[in-house]
Amino acid sequence: MRKRTLFGIIITFLVIAIAYFNNSSSISAGEVKSNMGVGGDAIGFLFVGPRDDYGYNQAAYNGSEAVKEAFPFMKLLRVENVPETAEAERVMEEMIRSGAKVIFPTSYGHLDPALEVAKRHRDVVFLHQGGLKTAENLGTYFSNIFEVIYLSGVAAGKMTKTNKLGFIASFPIPQVLLNINAYTLGVRSVNPDANVIAVFNGSWCDPGKQASAANTLIDQGCDVLTQHQDCTKTIIETAERRGVMSSGYHCDALEIAPEGWITGAYWNWDDLYVNMCDVILNGEFKGSPYDGRFRTGIHEGVAKLARFGKNVPDDVKKLVKEKQKEILDYKFYPFTGPVRDQSGTVRIEPGVVPTVTELETTDYLVEGSIGNIPK
């Protein structure tokens, strides 16, 4: 009997071991290995999710494609589904062993592992997407996207019939609140009767929770849905199937919602990634704008307005384009005061133009949005 128990335990551990080695990031590490021995330098990219999620990771992956095209003589090491744990360190170490000279950890939670690895490898440059901490050989970059979200809100405010728009948010962090506020200000600028219903579902990408939130919001009478989630496919598809409209985020997803798509805000990292690689490979990282915290936005073409859906009338398109031009010409800024919060208190004084740093501490929702910041 003892022996059988022992045998059972051994089998159990074998199964655990198989499960462990089946883990996605190990598979991708195999991808890294297959590139070994080619010789020459490499550029590494880490993504927290899959490359085709119609979201944050797809946008970053598209950027890495541009790098691949611009530097055909370089090896490109790309690993998807890297968790925000010590596993990320392991993947980066493996990339460095395969010759990586530049590494892009693209998820927020990849920052701390990257800082650890950066300490051990002074000759490798790390460029982290969205981080606030930097190091000697680790710079961070990000792009403001709220101006484009404002434009997306303008279009949605014109399109809504029920005057209820649903915003499925993840966590109440400043970046997310800023996007809800920008969308609401955009909606309200053209439709003072409309409200944006913001719900926080406590996750970045859980299709089950997304479908649940989307259905509930539609039941409440929302006829436009948008989101701040990592993956956007489920929400946009649910909206399309139930015959309501959607505003996109992260990626241009017109093709999955041919009827209901209005427009959206998306990232175009192509030129920025290529330029950053260029600077670093020329050995000019020190003292360059990328050495530290680099922030860019709509003016540099990193944050962009997506295509319009086929049911968006021309006058709406024209209005949005005009607003876009005003923003590009620095004639208009969405957060110029007065901006009031939900209780009517003035948060940005009339005429005041807040800096991006000030906006990145947003801890309130603006007038016109319904919903509470979970505490």
Binding site: G8, V15, V199, P207, D219
Partner: protein, 302 residues
């Protein structure tokens, strides 16, 4: 839609997948085997169903194959714990991680696919009943099947000869043995059927509810299904109720937030677990103990 209708409708939408897992787990545990690997079965079912639906365009193939793949996952569990007498909890966890790994590996190319899965169907006449109609009769076919499944499983467990044998296996397997039936054979069947249910639950999530595949799409819903069995004191109708409670807490959060109420969403998500703890405490205090006897000797086997 009025508040109550909205919450209850969405409770059913979000709870059905968990309900399948939980009712399946009731069957397995009634025979004396805990299967934490239900999470792995659910994932396997979700991916297989999604992939089959994407290939064939027919979601029915998806459901069938999803259920079968869930059953196969639980067959591994059954072999290791029944034939090889290994620890049930460790094996279940291993199956769960195995499921996460293997579905992530084979699923990566399905993330961006669009499928035509099951759409909600409004049942004629029934769906016109005020309130009740919109709560219960505007769902997809797998949700209707889950509503039929509960009374069927109930009748099976409590009013058929095979139901008695199944429950006897979980309480006193030597009686079943004396009766001329093999307890292990019955456990195998119960666990595999439970895995089939979990697989169909995964299919409901991927091809009827969210129409998506994503790595680890179940996010612990399979484990919640297992937890609910205790809450349900091993009864299928209460397991389904528990699943709706879980779905309801998820829907309630959105409904309340959408109306501007201030509360902590973390508290709402805890409702099913708090109730489970309450049930567990009741079991200890009142001497009322619905747990199958065999489950109490989980650690002492072999």
């Amino acid at each position: 839609m009025i508040f109550v209708t909205e919450v209850l409708t969405n409770a059913i939408r979000a709870g059905t997948a968990v309900g399948y897992v939980s009712v399946g787990e009731v069957i397995g545990q009634r025979s004396g085997v805990i299967n934490l690997g239900a999470e792995g079965s659910m994932l396997a079912g979700a991916l297989t169903a999604f992939a089959l639906t994407a290939w064939t365009g027919n979601p029915w193939y998806g459901v069938m194959c999803g259920g079968i793949s869930g059953a196969l996952m639980s067959l591994i569990h059954a072999f290791v714990v029944i034939t090889r007498n290994a620890n049930q909890l460790a094996t279940g966890l291993a199956i769960m991680f195995f499921g996460q790994g293997i579905t992530a590996y084979f699923g990566s190319s399905y993330v961006n696919l669009q499928i035509s899965g099951f759409e909600p169907i409004a049942l004629p006449f029934l769906s016109d009943i005020p309130i009740i109609g919109s709560i219960f009769f505007h769902h997809d076919i797998l949700t209707y099947l889950s509503m039929l499944m509960v009374p069927l499983v109930w009748v099976f467990l409590f009013s058929t000869k095979w139901g008695v044998i199944l429950r006897a296996t979980g309480e006193r397997d030597e009686v079943v043995y004396a009766h001329g039936k093999s307890p292990n054979c019955i456990r195998y069947m119960a666990v595999v059927v439970g895995g089939f249910f979990a697989g169909v639950g995964g299919a409901q999530l991927s091809i009827a509810f969210s129409h998506s595949w994503m790595e680890n799409i179940t996010q612990g819903r399979g484990l919640i299904g297992v937890i609910l069995v205790i809450f349900a004191s091993w009864r299928p109708e209460r397991a389904m109720l528990g699943a709706y409670l879980f779905g309801g807490s998820q829907a309630l959060i959105v409904s309340l937030q959408g109306r501007g109420y201030n509360f902590s969403s973390f508290l709402l998500f805890m409702i099913p677990y708090i109730l489970t703890i309450v049930v567990l405490v009741m079991v200890e205090r009142t001497g009322w103990n619905p747990m199958p006897e065999a489950l109490k000797k989980v650690f002492g086997r072999g």
